[in-house]
Protein backbone atom coordinates (compact mmCIF):
# COMPACT_ATOMS: atom_id res chain seq x y z
CA UNK A 1 0.00 0.00 0.00
CA UNK A 2 1.21 3.49 -0.74
CA UNK A 3 1.47 6.35 1.70
CA UNK A 4 2.03 10.00 0.88
CA UNK A 5 4.13 11.56 3.62
CA UNK A 6 4.49 15.32 4.02
CA UNK A 7 6.79 16.79 6.60
CA UNK A 8 8.35 20.13 7.42
CA UNK A 9 12.04 20.29 8.10
CA UNK A 10 11.92 23.12 10.61
CA UNK A 11 13.99 23.13 13.75
CA UNK A 12 14.08 19.47 14.65
CA UNK A 13 15.13 17.96 11.29
CA UNK A 14 13.99 14.59 12.56
CA UNK A 15 14.94 11.57 10.44
CA UNK A 16 11.27 10.62 10.18
CA UNK A 17 11.56 7.77 7.67
CA UNK A 18 14.64 6.23 9.30
CA UNK A 19 13.07 6.49 12.73
CA UNK A 20 9.83 4.90 11.55
CA UNK A 21 11.77 2.02 9.99
CA UNK A 22 13.77 1.46 13.18
CA UNK A 23 10.83 1.73 15.58
CA UNK A 24 8.36 -0.36 13.59
CA UNK A 25 10.81 -2.76 11.99
CA UNK A 26 8.89 -2.36 8.71
CA UNK A 27 11.02 -2.09 5.60
CA UNK A 28 9.87 0.90 3.60
CA UNK A 29 10.39 1.44 -0.12
CA UNK A 30 10.71 5.11 -1.04
CA UNK A 31 9.13 5.34 -4.50
CA UNK A 32 9.78 9.00 -5.00
CA UNK A 33 10.65 11.98 -2.85
CA UNK A 34 11.03 15.72 -3.21
CA UNK A 35 12.83 17.27 -0.28
CA UNK A 36 14.19 20.79 0.02
CA UNK A 37 15.51 22.88 2.87
CA UNK A 38 12.13 23.56 4.47
CA UNK A 39 9.82 20.69 3.60
CA UNK A 40 9.55 17.31 2.02
CA UNK A 41 7.09 14.97 0.33
CA UNK A 42 7.72 11.26 -0.06
CA UNK A 43 5.68 8.51 -1.60
CA UNK A 44 6.46 5.28 0.21
CA UNK A 45 5.36 1.72 -0.28
CA UNK A 46 4.75 -0.54 2.74
CA UNK A 47 3.19 -4.00 3.12
CA UNK A 48 -0.62 -3.74 3.37
CA UNK A 49 -0.89 -5.29 6.84
CA UNK A 50 1.64 -2.88 8.35
CA UNK A 51 0.34 0.20 6.66
CA UNK A 52 -1.53 1.60 9.66
CA UNK A 53 1.38 0.92 11.99
CA UNK A 54 3.76 2.92 9.81
CA UNK A 55 1.22 5.67 9.29
CA UNK A 56 0.61 6.12 13.01
CA UNK A 57 4.32 6.08 13.77
CA UNK A 58 5.10 8.73 11.19
CA UNK A 59 2.15 10.84 12.32
CA UNK A 60 3.46 10.71 15.89
CA UNK A 61 6.81 11.98 14.57
CA UNK A 62 5.07 15.03 13.17
CA UNK A 63 4.48 14.00 9.55
CA UNK A 64 1.23 14.40 7.69
CA UNK A 65 0.45 10.93 6.31
CA UNK A 66 -2.24 9.97 3.83
CA UNK A 67 -3.01 6.47 2.62
CA UNK A 68 -3.31 6.47 -1.17
CA UNK A 69 -6.14 4.17 -2.10
CA UNK A 70 -5.95 4.91 -5.80
CA UNK A 71 -3.42 5.39 -8.55
CA UNK A 72 -3.88 7.76 -11.46
CA UNK A 73 -7.51 8.54 -12.37
CA UNK A 74 -8.49 7.05 -15.70
CA UNK A 75 -11.41 8.44 -17.70
CA UNK A 76 -12.27 5.65 -20.07
CA UNK A 77 -14.67 7.71 -22.17
CA UNK A 78 -11.92 10.16 -23.13
CA UNK A 79 -9.37 7.43 -23.87
CA UNK A 80 -8.98 6.43 -27.52
CA UNK A 81 -6.55 3.58 -26.78
CA UNK A 82 -3.60 5.24 -28.52
CA UNK A 83 -1.03 4.13 -25.97
CA UNK A 84 0.96 7.38 -25.71
CA UNK A 85 1.16 6.74 -21.93
CA UNK A 86 2.71 3.28 -22.21
CA UNK A 87 6.37 4.14 -22.78
CA UNK A 88 6.29 7.25 -20.57
CA UNK A 89 5.38 5.41 -17.38
CA UNK A 90 8.35 4.44 -15.18
CA UNK A 91 6.34 1.64 -13.53
CA UNK A 92 4.72 -0.19 -16.46
CA UNK A 93 1.23 0.72 -15.28
CA UNK A 94 -0.17 0.78 -18.83
CA UNK A 95 -0.34 -1.92 -21.49
CA UNK A 96 -2.64 -3.20 -24.22
CA UNK A 97 -4.83 -6.27 -23.94
CA UNK A 98 -5.10 -8.62 -26.93
CA UNK A 99 -7.64 -6.31 -28.54
CA UNK A 100 -5.38 -3.24 -28.25
CA UNK A 101 -7.55 -1.80 -25.50
CA UNK A 102 -5.59 0.10 -22.86
CA UNK A 103 -5.46 -1.57 -19.45
CA UNK A 104 -4.02 -0.32 -16.17
CA UNK A 105 -2.40 -2.05 -13.23
CA UNK A 106 -3.28 0.60 -10.71
CA UNK A 107 -1.30 -0.84 -7.79
CA UNK A 108 1.94 -0.11 -9.62
CA UNK A 109 1.21 3.61 -9.92
CA UNK A 110 3.39 5.96 -7.88
CA UNK A 111 1.48 9.06 -8.98
CA UNK A 112 4.50 10.66 -10.64
CA UNK A 113 2.14 12.41 -13.06
CA UNK A 114 4.22 11.86 -16.22
CA UNK A 115 1.28 10.30 -18.05
CA UNK A 116 -1.00 13.26 -17.29
CA UNK A 117 0.98 15.50 -19.65
CA UNK A 118 1.66 12.73 -22.14
CA UNK A 119 -2.01 11.85 -22.70
CA UNK A 120 -3.27 13.78 -25.75
CA UNK A 121 -6.89 13.27 -24.67
CA UNK A 122 -6.92 14.37 -21.03
CA UNK A 123 -7.98 10.88 -20.04
CA UNK A 124 -5.50 10.71 -17.16
CA UNK A 125 -5.61 13.04 -14.16
CA UNK A 126 -4.09 13.12 -10.69
CA UNK A 127 -6.55 11.98 -8.00
CA UNK A 128 -7.77 14.79 -5.74
Amino acid sequence: MKLLVNFSRGKGRKPIIAQAVRDTGVLITVERAVIDSSEGEALIDVPDDQCRLVRDKMASLGANVRILEHGITFNESECVDCGACISICPRDVFSFDEGYRLKLIEERCILCGKCVDACPHEALTMPV
Binding site: D81, G83, A84, S87, I88, S95, Y100, R101
Partner: protein, 501 residues
Protein backbone atom coordinates in the same frame (compact mmCIF):
# COMPACT_ATOMS: atom_id res chain seq x y z
CA UNK B 1 -8.55 -12.89 -64.31
CA UNK B 2 -9.86 -9.40 -63.72
CA UNK B 3 -12.97 -8.14 -62.04
CA UNK B 4 -14.63 -4.95 -63.21
CA UNK B 5 -15.78 -2.30 -60.78
CA UNK B 6 -19.31 -2.87 -62.12
CA UNK B 7 -19.19 -6.57 -61.23
CA UNK B 8 -18.05 -5.68 -57.72
CA UNK B 9 -20.76 -3.05 -57.30
CA UNK B 10 -23.38 -5.50 -58.59
CA UNK B 11 -22.34 -7.96 -55.88
CA UNK B 12 -22.51 -5.17 -53.27
CA UNK B 13 -26.05 -4.33 -54.45
CA UNK B 14 -27.01 -8.03 -54.42
CA UNK B 15 -25.71 -8.30 -50.87
CA UNK B 16 -23.23 -11.06 -51.64
CA UNK B 17 -19.96 -9.18 -51.96
CA UNK B 18 -17.14 -10.68 -49.89
CA UNK B 19 -15.66 -7.80 -47.90
CA UNK B 20 -12.63 -8.26 -45.64
CA UNK B 21 -10.33 -5.92 -43.74
CA UNK B 22 -6.71 -5.36 -44.72
CA UNK B 23 -5.75 -7.15 -41.53
CA UNK B 24 -7.50 -10.33 -42.68
CA UNK B 25 -6.04 -10.22 -46.18
CA UNK B 26 -2.51 -11.63 -45.57
CA UNK B 27 -4.05 -14.77 -44.02
CA UNK B 28 -6.52 -15.19 -46.88
CA UNK B 29 -3.78 -14.89 -49.51
CA UNK B 30 -1.60 -17.36 -47.59
CA UNK B 31 -4.49 -19.82 -47.52
CA UNK B 32 -6.04 -19.43 -50.98
CA UNK B 33 -3.12 -18.12 -53.02
CA UNK B 34 -3.32 -14.96 -55.10
CA UNK B 35 -5.72 -16.42 -57.70
CA UNK B 36 -7.97 -17.84 -55.03
CA UNK B 37 -8.00 -14.57 -53.09
CA UNK B 38 -8.87 -12.62 -56.25
CA UNK B 39 -11.81 -14.93 -56.93
CA UNK B 40 -12.97 -14.92 -53.31
CA UNK B 41 -12.53 -11.32 -52.13
CA UNK B 42 -14.30 -8.33 -53.67
CA UNK B 43 -13.39 -5.47 -51.35
CA UNK B 44 -10.60 -4.86 -48.82
CA UNK B 45 -11.32 -2.18 -46.24
CA UNK B 46 -8.59 -0.13 -44.60
CA UNK B 47 -8.56 2.17 -41.59
CA UNK B 48 -6.46 4.53 -39.57
CA UNK B 49 -7.15 6.64 -36.49
CA UNK B 50 -4.54 9.14 -35.45
CA UNK B 51 -3.50 12.74 -35.04
CA UNK B 52 -4.02 14.57 -38.33
CA UNK B 53 -3.17 18.19 -37.67
CA UNK B 54 -3.94 19.39 -41.16
CA UNK B 55 -7.71 19.19 -40.79
CA UNK B 56 -10.59 21.62 -40.59
CA UNK B 57 -14.06 22.49 -41.81
CA UNK B 58 -15.86 25.04 -43.96
CA UNK B 59 -18.86 26.41 -42.12
CA UNK B 60 -21.72 28.42 -43.57
CA UNK B 61 -23.72 30.46 -41.07
CA UNK B 62 -26.35 32.06 -43.31
CA UNK B 63 -27.14 35.78 -43.28
CA UNK B 64 -27.91 37.77 -40.14
CA UNK B 65 -30.45 40.61 -39.94
CA UNK B 66 -29.20 43.24 -40.65
CA UNK B 67 -26.55 41.40 -42.63
CA UNK B 68 -22.85 41.47 -41.81
CA UNK B 69 -19.82 40.83 -44.01
CA UNK B 70 -17.87 38.87 -41.38
CA UNK B 71 -14.19 39.65 -41.67
CA UNK B 72 -12.73 38.41 -38.44
CA UNK B 73 -14.47 35.43 -36.90
CA UNK B 74 -14.05 33.57 -33.63
CA UNK B 75 -15.72 30.35 -32.52
CA UNK B 76 -15.42 29.87 -28.75
CA UNK B 77 -12.51 32.37 -28.93
CA UNK B 78 -10.70 30.34 -31.60
CA UNK B 79 -10.11 32.42 -34.70
CA UNK B 80 -11.49 30.99 -37.94
CA UNK B 81 -10.42 32.17 -41.40
CA UNK B 82 -12.95 34.69 -42.66
CA UNK B 83 -11.59 35.67 -46.05
CA UNK B 84 -14.35 33.72 -47.76
CA UNK B 85 -16.99 36.42 -48.29
CA UNK B 86 -19.49 37.42 -45.64
CA UNK B 87 -21.06 34.23 -44.31
CA UNK B 88 -18.46 31.46 -44.45
CA UNK B 89 -15.46 30.52 -42.35
CA UNK B 90 -12.78 27.83 -42.31
CA UNK B 91 -12.00 26.56 -38.85
CA UNK B 92 -8.58 24.92 -38.74
CA UNK B 93 -7.92 22.13 -36.23
CA UNK B 94 -4.64 23.48 -34.84
CA UNK B 95 -5.71 27.10 -34.30
CA UNK B 96 -5.56 27.80 -30.58
CA UNK B 97 -8.02 29.66 -28.37
CA UNK B 98 -7.09 33.26 -27.62
CA UNK B 99 -8.10 32.78 -23.98
CA UNK B 100 -7.38 29.14 -23.16
CA UNK B 101 -4.14 28.44 -25.03
CA UNK B 102 -3.25 24.92 -26.03
CA UNK B 103 -5.96 23.25 -23.97
CA UNK B 104 -8.66 24.32 -26.45
CA UNK B 105 -8.46 24.89 -30.18
CA UNK B 106 -10.12 24.49 -33.57
CA UNK B 107 -10.26 20.71 -33.15
CA UNK B 108 -12.21 21.17 -29.93
CA UNK B 109 -14.65 23.52 -31.66
CA UNK B 110 -15.21 20.88 -34.35
CA UNK B 111 -15.63 18.10 -31.76
CA UNK B 112 -18.02 20.25 -29.71
CA UNK B 113 -20.16 20.90 -32.80
CA UNK B 114 -20.23 17.17 -33.63
CA UNK B 115 -21.11 16.38 -30.00
CA UNK B 116 -24.16 18.68 -30.27
CA UNK B 117 -22.77 21.40 -28.00
CA UNK B 118 -23.43 25.10 -28.54
CA UNK B 119 -20.54 27.16 -29.88
CA UNK B 120 -20.31 30.94 -29.58
CA UNK B 121 -19.77 32.79 -32.86
CA UNK B 122 -18.28 36.25 -32.58
CA UNK B 123 -17.46 38.31 -35.67
CA UNK B 124 -16.57 41.82 -36.69
CA UNK B 125 -16.70 43.83 -39.90
CA UNK B 126 -15.92 47.33 -41.13
CA UNK B 127 -19.52 47.68 -42.35
CA UNK B 128 -20.47 48.37 -45.97
CA UNK B 129 -23.51 49.79 -47.77
CA UNK B 130 -24.73 46.30 -48.54
CA UNK B 131 -23.62 44.80 -45.20
CA UNK B 132 -24.14 47.57 -42.62
CA UNK B 133 -23.68 45.49 -39.47
CA UNK B 134 -20.33 45.68 -37.67
CA UNK B 135 -20.44 43.05 -34.96
CA UNK B 136 -22.36 39.92 -34.11
CA UNK B 137 -22.40 37.44 -31.26
CA UNK B 138 -24.59 34.35 -31.29
CA UNK B 139 -24.72 30.78 -30.03
CA UNK B 140 -24.84 28.11 -32.67
CA UNK B 141 -25.46 24.38 -32.85
CA UNK B 142 -24.29 22.26 -35.76
CA UNK B 143 -27.90 21.94 -36.91
CA UNK B 144 -28.12 25.75 -37.30
CA UNK B 145 -25.43 25.77 -39.98
CA UNK B 146 -26.44 25.44 -43.63
CA UNK B 147 -23.27 23.52 -44.46
CA UNK B 148 -20.49 22.14 -42.30
CA UNK B 149 -18.06 20.48 -44.67
CA UNK B 150 -14.93 18.91 -43.32
CA UNK B 151 -12.08 19.41 -45.75
CA UNK B 152 -8.67 18.18 -44.62
CA UNK B 153 -5.72 19.22 -46.79
CA UNK B 154 -3.25 16.62 -45.52
CA UNK B 155 -4.56 13.39 -44.04
CA UNK B 156 -3.88 9.69 -44.06
CA UNK B 157 -0.09 9.73 -44.29
CA UNK B 158 1.08 6.46 -45.85
CA UNK B 159 3.38 5.95 -42.86
CA UNK B 160 5.20 8.17 -40.39
CA UNK B 161 8.71 8.19 -38.99
CA UNK B 162 9.21 6.95 -35.44
CA UNK B 163 10.63 9.44 -32.94
CA UNK B 164 13.37 9.27 -30.33
CA UNK B 165 15.32 11.88 -28.32
CA UNK B 166 19.05 11.43 -27.71
CA UNK B 167 19.46 14.71 -25.80
CA UNK B 168 19.48 14.89 -22.01
CA UNK B 169 16.32 17.03 -21.90
CA UNK B 170 12.68 15.92 -22.11
CA UNK B 171 11.11 17.04 -25.40
CA UNK B 172 7.48 17.89 -26.12
CA UNK B 173 6.81 17.38 -29.81
CA UNK B 174 3.97 16.60 -32.19
CA UNK B 175 5.25 13.04 -31.73
CA UNK B 176 4.31 13.31 -28.05
CA UNK B 177 6.53 13.32 -24.99
CA UNK B 178 10.04 12.09 -25.75
CA UNK B 179 12.00 11.07 -22.67
CA UNK B 180 15.67 12.14 -22.46
CA UNK B 181 18.59 9.85 -23.29
CA UNK B 182 16.64 7.68 -25.73
CA UNK B 183 14.19 6.82 -22.94
CA UNK B 184 11.33 5.91 -25.26
CA UNK B 185 10.21 5.74 -28.88
CA UNK B 186 6.91 7.07 -30.21
CA UNK B 187 5.32 6.23 -33.54
CA UNK B 188 2.12 6.80 -35.43
CA UNK B 189 0.18 4.94 -38.06
CA UNK B 190 -1.95 1.86 -38.57
CA UNK B 191 0.71 -0.16 -40.43
CA UNK B 192 -0.96 -2.95 -42.40
CA UNK B 193 -4.38 -1.26 -42.08
CA UNK B 194 -3.21 2.08 -43.54
CA UNK B 195 -5.13 2.97 -46.73
CA UNK B 196 -2.19 4.04 -48.92
CA UNK B 197 0.11 1.27 -47.69
CA UNK B 198 -2.44 -1.09 -49.26
CA UNK B 199 -2.37 0.86 -52.55
CA UNK B 200 1.13 2.36 -52.70
CA UNK B 201 1.01 2.91 -56.46
CA UNK B 202 -2.27 4.79 -56.07
CA UNK B 203 -4.06 2.67 -58.68
CA UNK B 204 -7.31 2.68 -56.71
CA UNK B 205 -7.19 5.77 -54.51
CA UNK B 206 -7.77 9.06 -56.31
CA UNK B 207 -10.24 11.91 -56.79
CA UNK B 208 -13.85 10.97 -56.26
CA UNK B 209 -13.17 7.68 -54.48
CA UNK B 210 -15.53 7.10 -51.53
CA UNK B 211 -14.17 6.74 -48.02
CA UNK B 212 -14.99 6.65 -44.33
CA UNK B 213 -14.25 9.98 -42.64
CA UNK B 214 -14.89 10.39 -38.91
CA UNK B 215 -17.89 8.07 -39.02
CA UNK B 216 -19.46 9.57 -42.15
CA UNK B 217 -19.22 8.66 -45.81
CA UNK B 218 -16.81 11.05 -47.52
CA UNK B 219 -14.66 11.36 -50.58
CA UNK B 220 -11.06 11.67 -51.68
CA UNK B 221 -10.55 15.15 -53.16
CA UNK B 222 -7.14 14.28 -54.57
CA UNK B 223 -3.53 14.32 -53.52
CA UNK B 224 -2.90 15.87 -50.14
CA UNK B 225 -0.44 18.66 -49.41
CA UNK B 226 3.14 17.50 -48.81
CA UNK B 227 2.22 14.42 -50.91
CA UNK B 228 5.54 12.68 -51.48
CA UNK B 229 5.11 9.14 -52.79
CA UNK B 230 8.74 8.95 -53.98
CA UNK B 231 9.85 8.68 -50.34
CA UNK B 232 6.88 6.58 -49.23
CA UNK B 233 4.95 9.50 -47.78
CA UNK B 234 1.80 9.88 -49.85
CA UNK B 235 -1.05 11.94 -48.37
CA UNK B 236 -4.68 12.58 -49.25
CA UNK B 237 -6.94 15.59 -49.27
CA UNK B 238 -10.34 14.38 -48.10
CA UNK B 239 -13.80 15.77 -47.48
CA UNK B 240 -17.00 14.72 -45.73
CA UNK B 241 -20.17 16.08 -44.13
CA UNK B 242 -19.45 17.16 -40.54
CA UNK B 243 -23.17 16.84 -39.73
CA UNK B 244 -23.01 13.07 -40.22
CA UNK B 245 -19.81 12.53 -38.23
CA UNK B 246 -19.49 10.95 -34.82
CA UNK B 247 -17.33 11.74 -31.82
CA UNK B 248 -16.23 8.13 -31.73
CA UNK B 249 -14.06 8.76 -34.78
CA UNK B 250 -13.27 12.46 -34.30
CA UNK B 251 -11.42 13.60 -31.21
CA UNK B 252 -9.71 16.86 -30.33
CA UNK B 253 -6.37 16.43 -28.61
CA UNK B 254 -3.48 18.40 -27.17
CA UNK B 255 0.12 17.38 -27.47
CA UNK B 256 1.51 19.06 -24.35
CA UNK B 257 4.05 21.74 -25.20
CA UNK B 258 3.24 21.46 -28.91
CA UNK B 259 -0.40 22.35 -29.31
CA UNK B 260 -3.82 21.31 -30.50
CA UNK B 261 -4.43 18.58 -33.03
CA UNK B 262 -7.33 16.41 -34.14
CA UNK B 263 -7.60 12.62 -34.15
CA UNK B 264 -9.30 11.58 -37.37
CA UNK B 265 -10.69 8.17 -38.25
CA UNK B 266 -10.30 7.47 -41.95
CA UNK B 267 -10.62 4.39 -44.13
CA UNK B 268 -10.72 3.72 -47.85
CA UNK B 269 -12.39 0.63 -49.34
CA UNK B 270 -10.30 -0.95 -52.09
CA UNK B 271 -11.97 -2.93 -54.89
CA UNK B 272 -10.11 -6.17 -55.64
CA UNK B 273 -9.99 -5.87 -59.42
CA UNK B 274 -6.82 -7.80 -60.20
CA UNK B 275 -3.91 -9.75 -58.78
CA UNK B 276 -1.85 -6.63 -58.22
CA UNK B 277 -4.51 -5.44 -55.76
CA UNK B 278 -4.36 -8.83 -54.02
CA UNK B 279 -0.60 -8.56 -53.72
CA UNK B 280 -0.67 -4.96 -52.46
CA UNK B 281 -3.38 -5.63 -49.87
CA UNK B 282 -1.58 -8.66 -48.44
CA UNK B 283 1.05 -6.36 -46.95
CA UNK B 284 1.94 -7.04 -43.30
CA UNK B 285 3.36 -4.88 -40.50
CA UNK B 286 6.69 -6.66 -41.01
CA UNK B 287 6.84 -5.30 -44.57
CA UNK B 288 6.41 -1.62 -43.68
CA UNK B 289 9.47 0.11 -42.31
CA UNK B 290 10.07 3.68 -41.24
CA UNK B 291 13.09 5.66 -40.09
CA UNK B 292 13.75 6.16 -36.40
CA UNK B 293 14.42 9.89 -36.23
CA UNK B 294 16.27 11.81 -33.55
CA UNK B 295 13.96 14.73 -32.64
CA UNK B 296 16.73 16.10 -30.42
CA UNK B 297 18.19 17.72 -33.54
CA UNK B 298 16.35 20.99 -34.18
CA UNK B 299 16.68 20.90 -37.95
CA UNK B 300 14.62 19.84 -40.96
CA UNK B 301 17.12 17.11 -41.82
CA UNK B 302 17.24 14.99 -38.72
CA UNK B 303 19.39 11.88 -38.79
CA UNK B 304 17.86 8.40 -38.97
CA UNK B 305 19.25 6.05 -36.33
CA UNK B 306 17.90 2.88 -37.93
CA UNK B 307 14.97 1.43 -39.86
CA UNK B 308 12.15 -0.08 -37.84
CA UNK B 309 9.07 -1.99 -38.98
CA UNK B 310 5.56 -1.51 -37.67
CA UNK B 311 5.75 -5.09 -36.36
CA UNK B 312 8.70 -4.13 -34.15
CA UNK B 313 7.13 -0.85 -33.06
CA UNK B 314 3.84 -2.52 -32.16
CA UNK B 315 5.59 -5.27 -30.16
CA UNK B 316 6.14 -2.82 -27.29
CA UNK B 317 9.88 -2.34 -27.58
CA UNK B 318 12.70 -2.07 -30.09
CA UNK B 319 16.45 -2.41 -29.68
CA UNK B 320 18.92 0.36 -30.41
CA UNK B 321 22.65 -0.17 -29.93
CA UNK B 322 21.92 -3.31 -27.92
CA UNK B 323 19.50 -1.57 -25.57
CA UNK B 324 15.81 -2.25 -25.33
CA UNK B 325 13.65 0.85 -25.62
CA UNK B 326 9.91 0.89 -24.99
CA UNK B 327 7.60 2.15 -27.72
CA UNK B 328 4.35 4.10 -27.57
CA UNK B 329 1.85 4.51 -30.34
CA UNK B 330 0.20 7.90 -30.72
CA UNK B 331 -2.49 6.59 -33.04
CA UNK B 332 -5.03 4.01 -31.96
CA UNK B 333 -4.80 0.60 -33.58
CA UNK B 334 -8.02 -0.45 -31.88
CA UNK B 335 -9.96 2.41 -33.47
CA UNK B 336 -8.23 1.87 -36.82
CA UNK B 337 -9.64 -1.66 -36.69
CA UNK B 338 -13.07 -0.24 -35.83
CA UNK B 339 -12.86 2.04 -38.89
CA UNK B 340 -12.03 -0.90 -41.17
CA UNK B 341 -14.76 -3.05 -39.54
CA UNK B 342 -17.40 -0.32 -39.83
CA UNK B 343 -16.54 0.24 -43.46
CA UNK B 344 -16.80 -3.51 -43.99
CA UNK B 345 -20.29 -3.48 -42.43
CA UNK B 346 -21.40 -0.55 -44.60
CA UNK B 347 -20.31 -2.22 -47.82
CA UNK B 348 -21.61 -5.66 -46.84
CA UNK B 349 -24.97 -3.99 -46.14
CA UNK B 350 -24.93 -2.27 -49.52
CA UNK B 351 -24.63 1.23 -48.05
CA UNK B 352 -21.56 2.23 -50.05
CA UNK B 353 -20.55 1.44 -53.62
CA UNK B 354 -17.09 1.85 -55.04
CA UNK B 355 -15.60 3.85 -57.88
CA UNK B 356 -12.24 4.04 -59.54
CA UNK B 357 -10.47 7.43 -59.45
CA UNK B 358 -12.09 10.12 -61.61
CA UNK B 359 -8.61 11.67 -61.70
CA UNK B 360 -5.53 9.73 -60.60
CA UNK B 361 -3.02 10.93 -58.02
CA UNK B 362 0.63 11.21 -59.08
CA UNK B 363 2.37 8.15 -57.59
CA UNK B 364 5.91 9.45 -58.25
CA UNK B 365 6.38 13.00 -57.07
CA UNK B 366 8.67 14.21 -54.33
CA UNK B 367 7.89 17.05 -51.96
CA UNK B 368 10.34 19.98 -51.97
CA UNK B 369 11.48 22.06 -49.03
CA UNK B 370 10.52 25.72 -48.81
CA UNK B 371 12.20 28.12 -51.23
CA UNK B 372 13.73 30.73 -48.97
CA UNK B 373 14.85 34.08 -50.34
CA UNK B 374 15.84 35.76 -47.10
CA UNK B 375 18.54 33.99 -45.16
CA UNK B 376 17.69 33.32 -41.59
CA UNK B 377 20.38 34.75 -39.31
CA UNK B 378 22.91 32.21 -38.14
CA UNK B 379 25.20 32.28 -35.13
CA UNK B 380 28.22 33.26 -37.26
CA UNK B 381 26.43 36.46 -38.28
CA UNK B 382 26.33 37.85 -34.77
CA UNK B 383 28.86 35.86 -32.70
CA UNK B 384 31.78 37.56 -31.00
CA UNK B 385 35.13 36.23 -32.21
CA UNK B 386 37.09 38.13 -29.56
CA UNK B 387 37.07 35.35 -27.05
CA UNK B 388 38.73 35.49 -23.69
CA UNK B 389 39.24 32.00 -22.30
CA UNK B 390 41.17 30.50 -19.41
CA UNK B 391 42.97 27.24 -18.64
CA UNK B 392 41.43 24.88 -16.10
CA UNK B 393 44.65 24.83 -14.05
CA UNK B 394 44.76 28.62 -13.59
CA UNK B 395 43.99 30.28 -10.30
CA UNK B 396 40.63 31.83 -9.60
CA UNK B 397 42.20 35.27 -9.22
CA UNK B 398 43.62 35.05 -12.74
CA UNK B 399 40.11 34.30 -13.95
CA UNK B 400 38.77 37.34 -12.09
CA UNK B 401 41.39 39.57 -13.73
CA UNK B 402 40.61 38.18 -17.16
CA UNK B 403 36.90 38.83 -16.68
CA UNK B 404 37.64 42.41 -15.66
CA UNK B 405 40.05 43.04 -18.47
CA UNK B 406 37.93 41.37 -21.09
CA UNK B 407 34.82 43.21 -19.87
CA UNK B 408 32.87 40.02 -20.05
CA UNK B 409 30.78 37.92 -17.71
CA UNK B 410 31.58 34.53 -19.18
CA UNK B 411 34.91 32.79 -19.33
CA UNK B 412 35.09 29.52 -21.28
CA UNK B 413 37.56 27.09 -19.72
CA UNK B 414 39.94 25.03 -21.88
CA UNK B 415 42.21 22.12 -21.06
CA UNK B 416 45.87 21.72 -22.09
CA UNK B 417 44.77 20.45 -25.52
CA UNK B 418 42.72 23.57 -26.13
CA UNK B 419 39.37 21.79 -25.82
CA UNK B 420 36.41 23.33 -24.06
CA UNK B 421 35.91 21.68 -20.67
CA UNK B 422 33.89 24.18 -18.67
CA UNK B 423 32.71 27.72 -18.15
CA UNK B 424 32.98 30.21 -15.27
CA UNK B 425 30.89 33.30 -14.84
CA UNK B 426 31.27 36.41 -12.69
CA UNK B 427 28.72 34.76 -10.41
CA UNK B 428 30.96 31.71 -9.89
CA UNK B 429 33.95 33.96 -9.14
CA UNK B 430 31.97 36.10 -6.68
CA UNK B 431 30.79 32.95 -4.92
CA UNK B 432 34.40 31.72 -4.64
CA UNK B 433 35.55 35.07 -3.28
CA UNK B 434 32.70 35.19 -0.77
CA UNK B 435 33.65 31.74 0.53
CA UNK B 436 37.44 32.00 0.69
CA UNK B 437 39.61 28.95 1.17
CA UNK B 438 37.21 26.47 -0.43
CA UNK B 439 38.59 26.53 -3.94
CA UNK B 440 41.83 27.64 -5.58
CA UNK B 441 41.73 26.72 -9.22
CA UNK B 442 39.35 27.45 -12.04
CA UNK B 443 38.58 23.74 -12.43
CA UNK B 444 37.24 23.69 -8.84
CA UNK B 445 34.52 26.21 -9.53
CA UNK B 446 33.79 25.86 -13.24
CA UNK B 447 30.50 24.45 -14.57
CA UNK B 448 31.48 21.33 -16.45
CA UNK B 449 28.24 20.88 -18.33
CA UNK B 450 28.56 23.59 -20.97
CA UNK B 451 25.70 24.34 -23.33
CA UNK B 452 27.28 25.21 -26.68
CA UNK B 453 26.35 26.27 -30.19
CA UNK B 454 28.03 26.05 -33.59
CA UNK B 455 28.70 28.79 -36.13
CA UNK B 456 26.13 27.49 -38.62
CA UNK B 457 23.30 27.03 -36.12
CA UNK B 458 20.27 29.24 -36.61
CA UNK B 459 20.03 32.11 -34.12
CA UNK B 460 16.48 31.01 -33.23
CA UNK B 461 17.78 27.64 -32.08
CA UNK B 462 20.59 29.28 -30.08
CA UNK B 463 18.11 31.67 -28.43
CA UNK B 464 15.92 28.71 -27.45
CA UNK B 465 18.95 27.16 -25.73
CA UNK B 466 19.59 30.39 -23.81
CA UNK B 467 15.96 30.50 -22.69
CA UNK B 468 15.65 26.82 -21.81
CA UNK B 469 18.78 26.75 -19.68
CA UNK B 470 18.30 30.25 -18.29
CA UNK B 471 21.81 31.34 -19.30
CA UNK B 472 23.16 34.37 -21.13
CA UNK B 473 26.07 33.05 -23.20
CA UNK B 474 26.89 30.11 -25.44
CA UNK B 475 30.46 29.22 -26.43
CA UNK B 476 30.64 28.56 -30.19
CA UNK B 477 32.65 25.38 -30.84
CA UNK B 478 33.96 23.56 -33.92
CA UNK B 479 33.68 19.83 -34.59
CA UNK B 480 36.69 19.13 -32.35
CA UNK B 481 35.14 21.02 -29.40
CA UNK B 482 37.59 23.91 -29.77
CA UNK B 483 36.14 27.27 -28.92
CA UNK B 484 35.97 29.60 -31.92
CA UNK B 485 33.73 32.38 -30.63
CA UNK B 486 31.12 33.24 -28.05
CA UNK B 487 27.49 34.22 -28.41
CA UNK B 488 26.11 36.38 -25.60
CA UNK B 489 22.78 37.99 -25.04
CA UNK B 490 24.48 41.30 -25.98
CA UNK B 491 25.27 39.99 -29.47
CA UNK B 492 21.57 39.42 -30.08
CA UNK B 493 21.18 43.19 -30.18
CA UNK B 494 22.94 43.12 -33.55
CA UNK B 495 19.89 41.38 -34.98
CA UNK B 496 17.85 44.52 -34.69
CA UNK B 497 20.29 46.55 -36.72
CA UNK B 498 21.00 44.07 -39.45
CA UNK B 499 18.19 41.57 -39.81
CA UNK B 500 15.00 42.92 -38.43
CA UNK B 501 14.70 46.09 -40.47
Amino acid sequence: MRKSIDQINQRIRDGNARVVTAEEMPGIVAELGEDGALREVDVVTTGTFGAMCSSGAFLNFGHAEPPIRMERIWLNDVEAYGGLAAVDAYIGATQQSETRGEEYGGAHVIEDLVAGKAVELRASSKGTDCYPRRTITTELLLEHLNQAIMCNPRNSYQRYNAAINTTDRMLHTYMGTLLPNSGNVTFSGAGLLNPISNDPKLRLIGSGVPLFLCGAPGMVVGEGTQHSPAGGFSTLMVTGDLKKMSQEFLRAATMTGYGVTMYVGLGVPLPVIDKEVVRATSIRDEDISVDLIDYGIPSRSRPSLRKVTYAELRSGSITLNGEEIRTSSLSSFRRARQVAETLKDWISAGKMELTLPARPIDPMRQVRPMHETVKTPRVLDIMDKNIVSIGEEEEIQTAALKLLKGETNHLPVINSKGKLVGIVTTFDISKAVANPGKATFVRDIMKKKVIVTTHDESVDVAVRKLEQHNISALPVVDAGNHIVAILTANNLGKLFGRWLK
